[in-house]
């Protein structure tokens, strides 16, 4: 039971880190990046190949680097490589494209990366993937769970703190303004691409770190761990939780990803095992549609965050929210 709970919490924290990073890109800035999970995968692969050495896998396998760096260095390199790759993709996509078009191109990017990694074996051992990635510390399984929980919760706390800092800063305001209307920010002398590149790279860095943590926890990674569908699930979690709100990102990750995954255990078993995954995808889609229809802002909307809370009485505030709903 303890093992089950720590496992749940570790995965919850790692998923939350991913959603927090995605929130910087989509929630704060409005960049719809369906290749997000690819950066998680890059972080995972790089963290693995920089720490596992050449002898870890029984069958050998072919992969680049094969270094034996300490885990924290590998984790950091994974994040940095993801950020650099993010900058490259940004140069080809975000600088020229917006909204739907950006979404289409990022979906294609996700498939391209997936196919390269899946078929080009010298890179990350192709479809077989990497396994026996060493734990960051050798200890019993239960204790390893606790250690990973402390680590991922700590890193999550740092990233949430950073998100909050950005949200409350002029930089965050600039990003939000660009999300709302780039013609306005241009009319007041702000070029869009620099701040957007920064936030895109920060988001990809966070994705890479999350991927590294993930691979150190589950000790294996293969192309089937990052099917393009995963990005959609993260995005759904963000929208359900409340895009633009860092607490919403956290809540969405726990409610949608962890909550649904665990609830599906209590379904009566029927058909073959794969049906449960399909049911889960259907439920996520259904929840997403309901949220978009009845609560566009998510469970915790961004507007709750505007930190200079009105000094007015709660009654007035509710009245204004009613007005905001009518305006939409």
């Amino acid at each position: 039971m303890v093992y089950y709970l720590t496992d749940l919490l570790v995965l919850g924290c790692i998923n939350s880190i991913m959603v927090v990073g995605l929130n910087l890109q989509y929630g704060y800035t409005g960049l719809l990046n369906f290749a997000y999970y690819t950066y998680v995968a890059i972080g995972a692969y790089v963290a693995a190949v920089t720490t596992m050495g050449r002898t870890a896998m029984a069958g050998g396998g072919t992969y680049i680097l094969g270094w034996t760096l300490p885990w924290y260095v590998g984790l950091l390199i994974g994040g940095v490589v993801a950020a650099i790759l993010g900058a490259v993709v940004f140069g080809f996509t975000v600088r020229r494209l917006r909204s739907d078009y950006l979404a289409i191109v990022t979906v294609s990017a996700a498939f391209i990366f997936w196919n390269i990694i899946n078929t080009y074996e010298p890179l990350f051992n192709g479809a077989t993937g990497l396994y026996h990635v060493p734990n960051i510390i050798s200890t019993s399984t239960t204790r390893y769970g606790f250690i990973m929980l402390a680590l991922s919760a700590g890193i999550l706390a740092i990233f949430v703190w950073g998100s909050r800092r950005i949200f409350r800063s002029p930089f965050g305001r600039l990003l939000r303004s660009m999300r709302e209307d780039e013609a306005v920010t241009a009319a007041f002398g702000r070029t869009s691409w620099q701040p957007q590149l920064w936030i895109f790279m920060i988001g990809c860095f966070i994705a890479g770190i999350a991927g590294g943590l993930f691979v150190f926890y589950i000790t294996a990674w293969s192309p089937y761990a990052f099917l393009p569908l995963e990005s959609f699930i993260l995005l759904a979690a963000l929208i359900v939780g409340g895009a633009g709100n860092y607490w919403g990102a956290l809540l969405g990750a726990f409610v949608l990803i962890e909550g649904l995954a665990e609830l599906s255990r209590f379904l009566p078993s029927f058909g073959n095992g794969a049906d449960v995954g399909a049911i889960r995808a259907i439920v996520i889609g259904f929840v997403l549609i309901l949220m978009l229809r009845y609560r566009r802002g998510g469970l915790i909307p961004e507007r709750w965050l505007h930190w200079y809370r009105p000094p007015a009485k709660p009654v007035l505030r509710r009245a204004r929210f009613a007005a905001a709903r009518r305006a939409r």
Binding site: S169, P170, D181, A186, F188, G189, Y308, R320, A323, A324
Partner: protein, 275 residues
Amino acid sequence: MSSEASGDLLNVQDVGYAYGGVWAVRGCSFSVRSGEVTGLIGPNGAGKSTMIEMLSGTLTPREGKIHFDGSDITGLRPVQVARKGIARTFQTARVLAALPVIENVVLAAQGQIGENPLKALFFRGSWRSQEEELRKEAAGLLDWLGLGHHLLSPAGTLSGGQRRLMEIARALMAHPKLMLLDEPTAGVFPETSQLIASRIREIAAQGVTVLLIAHNMGFLSAVADDVVVMAEGRVLTRGPLEVVREHAGVVSAYLGTAVAGSRETGPTTAQGVSE
């Protein structure tokens, strides 16, 4: 340039722009004197908005030159034009709907230290006091324009008139040399429009040059030192409103040539119809 001597802040020379094959503006020349409020008027399709879009850099003129404050700004992009000291409002007010009104306004302030990502994240001390000052200034501006009670409302909840006022506050927040106001009173309640007029006069009194598009003659006579009349992509005439109203070309542009020919006297006619 010779125009510098006569105190022109903005000088437009033979500017032309065509949408596809149709020239919306052609051979258009006028200047805006420093510290004055200049009105840009003309019937629909005269090219006023196209002119404003060219001045703000959204459209690039096909021909001609635009000089602002001693430098050539022809063909600069909106970002660059804004950095030269031109702030604008939009024909249909553009608000950042999800952001509180005060954020909409503070955004426009130039040179914000905290927009640097690293400083935003790790050196809050470097921008905190500036941010405080800007917020105070924005709150003051909004109060001055009668939006003091709406500082924290999402801008999307403002009414049409309030959006216009907020846009003026936003443009002022950038401390511009020249403000381009595209129909600041369109669809605005008459009393609000009086408020806008008096505020524009006060803005001009503080040395900010204003170029505005307007259709309401009452409003124009209250704010404009000078009006430039455009019709069919050209400047017909310019001068004080009372003089311009008597100009035969203006009357025919607004009322048609038949009326201009048969017309005996009267500002009353022109006023009656053009309002």
